[in-house]
Amino acid sequence: MAKTGILIEIENNTVKDTSLGVMTAAAGQEIYALVLGQDAAVVKDKLAEYGASHIVSITASGDLSSSPDLQSQALAAAVTEYNFETLLGTASATGRDLFARLAAILDQPLVSDCVQVNIAEKKVRKSHFSGKTFATLKVNGSVLLCTIRPNSIEPVAAPTAGELIEFVADVADPGLIKIVETKKAGADKLDLTEAPVIITGGRAIKAAENYKMLEDCAQKLGAAVGASRAAVDAGYAPHSMQVGQTGKTVSPKLYIACGVSGAVQHFAGMKTSKVIVAINEDKDAPIFSKCDYGIVGDIFDVVPLLTEKL
């Protein structure tokens, strides 16, 4: 059993499902769940249920949330304190940033956005060439650092007793960067990269206001709403909603593409989804050759009906 640290992401005092999947990636190892900058007691039961034998609240004398440099230093201190052989996190916006900072501090190899991890053999599997190939990498550092693609590993409970630990990292902010503002995004929107279900509108959506139709459907699905590059370039949706090459890489359990033609660059960002459904008026659209279920039809007929039947 390798000592494995898992960086846990918490939202509204609840452990994100994506973090539970990362814990499952380390099944069979001695798992330390690491909670940065807040008391881990509120999430202790959940973390213990998914296999964490140690649940560590990491704090420092300064406010950890004030700087990603400070957070990554605190993580580095925890790696040294507990002698982790492996440290895993989610390939979310936060996880990607912190792990890259951490890898630079520790001068250890990092593999980003893995879909599989073999901790015993120090081998990982990840996408290469914008989703066209999988690469198997052998990593030879003293610490294995990986971020895991959200939703690529289904969480499986593995209950343990779970012991709460407090760790105060002796670190100081190098003062290189300062977060001066956080801009909220209107409504509490589900993050695309972490959403378990995604419904995407392509060029056929025809106007920005028509995304309302997808949002209604998304609400019933518990889904996030995405957009294809064509829709973003046409000004129907902001870039933060773009799925695919030059947008976001997603891997939900269900992906519903509405009026998306299916360019290779779009597939690059969503082909590891578990189930892909396409709705398109054109029966010859390329998307039908690479998805699981297809409906030939006008999205303005099909989507409202789907919303109604869910």
Partner: protein
């Protein structure tokens, strides 16, 4: 102001990758392009220098064929370039960062360094962080809005769900950029001609003291991602199709 832009020479995202052996691919017949994210960095650097004066230097770690990518960057307005030559498309991110630093140390320190948020070939998303750390410079990645004013940079990055962080830092700094920052320009014919005469300084990895065998990540195997073989098309009236879809997603696939 001297700005270095790190640009990678990568297979066109529309190219079909033909694998060769366990961990290689055929690179002679496919089109290579500047890494799409890096183009936003080139555009940003060139327009900054157009306003504030200075020079834009492209720094590329890649095979000798990367010259085409460098000329492309130069036709967008970069002044000169450094090509650090490697034998393989794949170089460990730590070594790439060390090579970039060594070249910049030799050439003279920049006031700013731009990179793309990541490269579309290895998708390793970390070289810029290692480079920043080696210079002890501030770094912000995935930047979609940037203001440079009196020695300070103010960068915006998305942190999920459309939420954005505004981050302030002093120059020199490293900025990893993404779509939304600007619209990269299309070079005109005369710019393409002019680019052919610009200076490219070549260096070798070994000359910079970098030993490829020290890489800590090794690609053991490359394999195609399995493609779906074609959809099960639903049939009947729109109502029938949607009813059947909901049944499949609930009962067969269990994803709802």
């Amino acid at each position: 102001m001297k700005i270095c832009v790190c640009v990678k020479h990568v297979p066109d995202t529309a190219a079909t990758i033909k694998l060769a052996g366990d961990n290689g691919f055929e690179d002679s017949e496919i089109k290579f392009v500047p890494n799409p994210y890096d183009e936003y960095g080139i555009e940003e650097a060139v327009s900054l220098v157009e306003k504030q004066g200075g020079e834009v230097v492209i720094v590329t770690v890649g095979k000798a064929t990367a010259v085409t990518t460098i000329r492309g960057a130069m036709s967008m307005g970069a002044h000169r370039a450094i090509l650090i030559k490697t034998d393989s498309q794949f170089l460990d991110a730590s070594l790439t960062a060390r090579a970039l630093k060594a070249a910049m140390d030799q050439d003279g320190l920049p006031d700013m360094i731009f990179t793309g948020k990541g490269s579309v070939d290895t998708e390793s998303f970390q070289t810029q962080y290692r480079l920043a750390k080696s210079f002890n410079m501030p770094i912000v990645n995935e930047v979609s809005t940037l203001t440079i004013d009196s020695g300070k940079a103010i960068a915006e990055r998305e942190i999920g769900g459309g939420e954005k962080q505004v981050i302030e830092m002093s120059l020199p700094c490293v900025i990893g950029v993404t779509k939304g920052l600007n619209e990269p320009r299309y070079p005109k014919f005369q710019d393409i001609m002019k680019a052919k005469k610009k200076e490219i300084r070549e260096m070798d990895l070994s000359e910079l003291g970098i030993d490829v065998s020290q890489g800590k990540t090794m690609i053991e195997k490359l394999e195609p991602v399995p493609e779906r073989s074609g959809a099960t098309m639903l049939e009947g009236s729109v109502d029938d199709q949607v009813t059947e879809l909901v049944r499949i997603l609930k009962e067969d696939e269990k994803v709802l």
